[in-house]
Symmetry: C2
Subunit: 127 residues, 2 copies
């Protein structure tokens, strides 16, 4: 059970639907994606087949409509992606990442207090 590769852009969009809605058929994912971006049904199907091969999703081969599920929880995939970006663009600087994120997009007071809470709890359980 090795770690699946970093999802591509299109694959991540599909994973997003699976995380949001739980296990889905191709059609359900197709419908969800088409709410925002027009794509063909077989395009979505093809990706989900590829993602099965790559180990990004698992497939329940239910009769007449396979049901797919993200193999990793969203948080774990997010951690992979964010550390990847951290290394590729921020030379590993966590504060640089936070600074530019907050500079690029205004955070709501709720977000900010959420982040403060994360910081407050950060050392519990560590060390």
């Amino acid at each position: 059970m090795e770690k699946p590769p970093k999802p591509t852009e299109a694959e991540l969009a599909i994973l997003g639907v699976l995380w949001q809605r739980g296990p889905c058929t191709v059609r359900q994912v197709y419908d969800a994606l088409n709410a925002t971006k027009k794509t063909g049904y077989t395009t979505v199907l093809k990706f989900m087949q590829i993602m099965t091969e790559k180990g990004l999703v698992t497939r329940d081969e239910a009769p007449y409509a396979h049901v797919y599920q993200a193999r990793l929880p969203q948080e774990q995939a997010q951690r992979t992606l964010v550390t990847d970006l951290l290394d590729r663009a921020f030379e590993g600087s966590m504060s640089g990442l936070v600074l530019q994120a907050l500079s690029a997009r205004r955070a709501s007071p709720e977000e900010l207090s959420e982040i403060r809470k994360i910081l407050k709890n950060y050392d519990r359980g560590a060390k």
Copy 2:
């Protein structure tokens, strides 16, 4: 002067060198990259030519060794990349991004206090 596109992985590695060291010739970038990852000289050259076309770098066509420079400051490119990830993988949740970044990689006390300082100053000049 339109905004250059999102750099690819290989392009970002080259930009990293240019941000770190300032204007460079192809050979200087080539040497810097080969410290960590083996690539051919012409591969690097080709990328830098492509990046010139895309507007990611500018080129001073000095005689017998063009000098390249990143067109955008590092911070601006970082902002583009981080908001891109925010939208593609975190549904725009800033706190989610920070949480997973901090969960994935232990931050030093210095980084943490730096982040606290960013938060403290965050609303100055805004509103």
